[in-house]
Amino acid sequence: MRHGIVVVVALICLGNTAVVAVAQTDAKSSQSNSKSNPSAATKTSQTDGGKRFQANCGRCHNPPETISPREARAVVRHMRVRAMLSAEDEQLILKFLAP
């Protein structure tokens, strides 16, 4: 059983390394696109954030009626763990909750 646990943990770490490498490449290309039009990029990220909120958080509960930006940071950090959000989802949802 211990060998099984070690193998599972090793596979997850290995998978993560590969996924992070691909994700970093994607992030660099999306950053270079958004630099060409900052205001459009902000609007797009808020719209995307709303979609990501609805898809990840809104599946279980309603959004809070009021939330300040400093509360939003802690809430999104909490939701990153609870809802298994990626770092990109975390940033987009934060922009949606605290634009």
């Binding site: 997850i12 992070v20 509360e71 763990v81």
Partner: protein, 342 residues
């Protein structure tokens, strides 16, 4: 022993709070509620406070905790005699999270056992659309809480699909109020955003006593453009197998979500459990149970929700009973450090 553990945890949390920068304001969130339930001739009341503490620490670390402080008030002899109360406090999770990268969070401490979706995602009193948990959700969660470590995250996340995973190991703990079982398990889910559908599977192996395996599958469907939510689970273990499925439809299409009628949400839940064999301490019904339930939730302003439901519980080798439940919940959220709205 428990007092020393709680004192140490309190000191750690206070230290973390003080160390947190303004940009990492700790928050106190959670829910409070008052519930009443009548099963047959027995009526009982439950005042509940379930605070959630979240303390970010730097860019990578997070301490989070939830407790459940609950009273249970009932008549002395079930349906007769004076009312008497007992109060219980449960530490549901107290965990340290490290966001290693975009796709991996490492957690240590006490956490909600990730089996299916009920225990982790909708057991909070202000989220659950009914005031109690389906009976079969005791399968695979080993008392609800695990003490150990956990790896979790989104293995793949893009616009077309998300693959999320959780794997954990829990150690045996006999410390009063912090009990847990020695288990190993995990959950894998695939979410398709375009149709709002998630399906997944869970596994747990108990590494003590009867060393039994538990398997489960779950489903969550929230179609875009419709205020509809459907969730369900099926699970199997040595004790038996069972399922629950529930749906809720918020009437927000009639005048908007803030209109008088748009705040109403009819809900339905069906659950069944089929006992295979008696296993000591499995927290499951001792015999077959079936229970259809209908309810109405009403979302008032200021994060207050009223709920009422009626169910009929069919129990093998026993008398069927009506189950009436009424409750009110309040969801709160505020920062723990003084400061402006920024």
């Amino acid at each position: 022993m428990v007092g020393r553990v709680l004192l140490a945890l309190t000191l750690i949390l206070c230290g973390l709070s003080a160390a947190s920068a303004q940009s990492n304001t700790p928050i106190l969130s959670g829910g409070a509620g008052f519930f009443s339930a009548t099963q047959g001739n027995n009526t009982f009341f439950q005042p509940v406070v379930a605070p959630v503490l979240v303390v970010p620490f730097g860019e990578k670390w997070l301490v989070e905790s939830r407790a459940d402080l609950r009273g249970f008030i009932s008549r002395e002899n079930g349906s007769t005699g004076p009312y008497q109360g007992q109060f219980f406090g449960t530490l549901e999770y107290l965990q340290l999270d490290y966001n290693a990268n975009s796709h991996l969070t490492i957690t240590a401490g006490r956490f909600l056992t990730p089996f299916g979706i009920f225990n982790e995602r909708i057991s909070a009193i202000w989220i659950n659309k009914f005031q109690d948990a389906p009976a079969m959700t005791a399968i695979g969660i080993a008392g609800g809480y695990s003490d150990g470590f956990m790896l979790r995250g989104a293995l793949i996340s893009n616009d077309r699909y998300v693959v999320n995973y959780t794997t954990y190991f829990s150690t045996l703990s006999t410390v009063n109020k912090l009990e847990s079982e020695r288990t190993f398990g995990g959950r894998l889910g695939v979410f398709i955003p375009s149709v709002g559908l998630e399906v997944g599977t869970s596994y747990q192996r108990k590494l003590q006593d009867q060393r039994m395996n538990s398997f489960g599958t779950h489903l969550s469907w929230t179609p875009s453009g419709l205020p509809l939510e459907v969730k369900g689970e099926w699970a199997h273990s040595l004790s038996g197998h069972g399922y629950w499925i529930q749906g809720g439809y918020r009437l927000s299409q009639l005048g908007g979500s803030n209109s008088a009628i748009g705040r109403l949400e009819p809900v339905f839940r069906m659950q069944q459990f089929f006992r295979s064999r008696q296993v000591a301490g499995d927290s499951l019904p001792s015999t077959n149970v079936r229970r259809p339930e209908f309810g109405l939730n009403y979302y008032l302003p200021r994060e207050i929700r009223l709920n009422a439901s009626y169910g009929r519980q069919f129990i093998s080798q026993s008398t069927d009973v009506n189950v009436w439940e009424f409750g009110i919940t309040y969801r709160f959220l505020f920062p723990l450090l003084p400061g402006g709205s920024k």
